[in-house]
Symmetry: C2
Subunit: 337 residues, 2 copies
DNA sequence: CTGTTAGCGCCTTCAC
DNA sequence: GTGAAGGCGCTAACAG
């Protein structure tokens, strides 16, 4: 492996000149520049990253800690982050915390060890509580999850509003006994629960919510359990795409048809929500944009460490499909009895 | 930030002793070990990774280059790889090459720069052609994709056999004009095409295959195009989960019912294939096991660089569902597993 | 068993 | 504008 002094020898200059040319510093004669570049080519020289990092006390790496890589939401976010990061010559270390606060802490530690320039994080509720970007040696941008008063840059959906609109849509279509299944490990789940509860209360309806770990399996089990009891609810509502999948599976397994017997709605406009007849009503999130906004926020924060905390709030779009189709009066009253 | 000499001073020993204790070397007196550990705790000392890597010319990192992170197959593989890697105190750099040979080359270069211990790669066909693990400064384990004669460790499905069985199943259930949609950018797609073609030929049937880039959009477009023409084929078969999704969407959009008008089958037992009525017949891959086998192979290779090239071939399982129901019994498609 | 010391490859003053 | 030299924090060889 060629190193900088080999290049210097080959070009007949000092290592300092080579270093300057490589760093793109001004004030190097054109003739030296050419000779160095030629020598680099010839020797196929590649700088040793470890040495460079040791010397400069800096890396060209950012961290991305997602809460569940199996959630398509986060794979799409990570694509966006990587796209933009690599355009800026930054590498990305992607870690999957599996909704586990301990793993989160572990990875945050790892980021510190790696001396990353910054981190994008979708924290569990436990980590978010009392979270302050200042407690870390690198800037942190939160994505998907944050509290109103969290002291950190963040990119989130307007969760309360989105859940409010989704719930109101159900109510207006004649569904009144609506159960909300939501994940408690994330602020997002809680906020969506709040939006749901507000909408229900606004119409004088009773709140029925089931808190659970946000996995497909747990959602399926909880829904199955509830669907065994009578009377059936009017609608099942999910606070996330993973939970929505679990609810849908439970409905299928119990052979309860939607929306005839029970309506269904949730979050994330994933391909399968369109394929499952008669289509599932969802709040569509601008996922790629969320990821892109996060990395751009981080880039700006790295450039200007002292600027005021910023928050990007994006709006979800209600996509109405058959699973929440307007109810006929007859069916509604029958179920209420 | 405390450094090793601070720890040494605090513990009243030399830096060498501190280094030895931290490296877990034998031959350090218990009393020194205790004092060092105490000092480390007290000062919250964390070794500088850059310095350590520079000095030892080694990292504790492996690379994982997947061809498309949006493909659930690869997110599951990466989970398995990360699980095992972190158990062994190895970090993982995950890169998404997007089925692009140039990006693959770029990331392989990056791996070299990072001085990783080894790489797990799912190569495009272009990269696989003439691929030899020996051409890289680190061991490479191929996952999901490899040729019969590729000189590298690999973990793959028995693709030819799986596609053969899937196709035979369709033929036996009465479907004869079966079109195979497959991705050409991967060896896997081509091998599955081979299995399909062999099965068709074995029954004296004509081969109808459509080669395309393995994305949902391209598959949907190709299928839509084909479904516009008459006569309709008997069945649509996909060489991957992403392509299967595209075919399913095309069927829905053109309102062609399966299996009544056209049967459907493909690869990867993803949740949605069960939800879409009347269920889609697939070859289920042991995805997590594939990922785990890959990282274990890499670990062994790192431990014994000279051992003979190994190949792990796993078997796919045929999951029969309504989308390929026997053609005789009219519309007996309502059964669900 | 323990300590002293010489680099790992690079960047960056500092002289010239 | 260019080169010589020191040192980033750590490990490993060598000496005691």
């Amino acid at each position: 492996m060629a190193q900088i002094k080999d290049v210097a020898k080959q070009a007949g200059v000092s290592v300092a000149s080579v270093s300057r040319v490589l760093a793109g510093h001004a004030g190097v004669s054109e003739s030296i520049r050419q000779r160095v570049l030629a020598a680099v080519q010839e020797l196929e020289y590649r700088p040793d990253l470890a040495a460079r990092r040791l010397r400069s006390r800096q890396t060209d790496t950012i961290g991305l800690i997602v809460s569940d890589i199996r959630n398509p939401f986060f794979t799409e976010v990570s694509r966006a982050v990587e796209d933009v990061a690599y355009q800026h010559r930054l590498r990305v270390i992607l870690c999957n915390a599996d909704e586990d606060p301990e793993k989160e802490a572990l990875y945050l530690d790892l980021m510190r060890d790696e001396n990353v320039r910054g981190v994008i994080l979708s924290p569990t509720f436990a980590t978010l509580t009392g979270f302050r970007s200042h407690d870390y040696p690198f800037p942190v941008v939160l994505v998907d999850r944050c509290d109103r008063d969290t002291a950190a840059d963040a990119v989130v959906l307007d969760n309360i509003d989105a859940a409010y609109r989704l719930t109101t849509h159900l109510i207006e279509n004649g569904y009144r006994r609506n159960i909300f299944f939501y994940g408690t490990t994330s602020a997002t789940g809680r906020q969506r629960h709040e939006g749901y509860a507000t909408a229900m209360a606004a119409h004088g309806l009773e709140v029925h919510a089931e808190a659970l770990p946000a996995t497909v399996d747990r959602a399926r089990a909880a829904a199955r359990e509830r669907l065994r009891r009578r009377p059936l609810p009017d609608a099942l509502v999910a606070s996330s795409g993973l939970i929505l999948l679990g609810l849908t599976e439970a409905l299928r397994e119990t052979r309860i048809r939607f929306p005839d017997s029970v309506a269904l709605a949730g979050f994330d406009d994933l391909p399968w929500t369109r394929l499952v007849e008669p289509g599932i009503t969802v709040i569509a999130q601008p996922i790629y944009d969320i990821g892109r906004a996060a990395i751009e926020l981080l880039l700006q924060r790295i450039a200007k460490p002292e600027q005021a905390v910023r928050r990007v709030v994006l709006r979800g779009e209600l996509v109405e499909r058959g699973s929440s189709a307007k109810r006929t009066g007859a069916t509604a009253s029958a179920s209420m009895a």
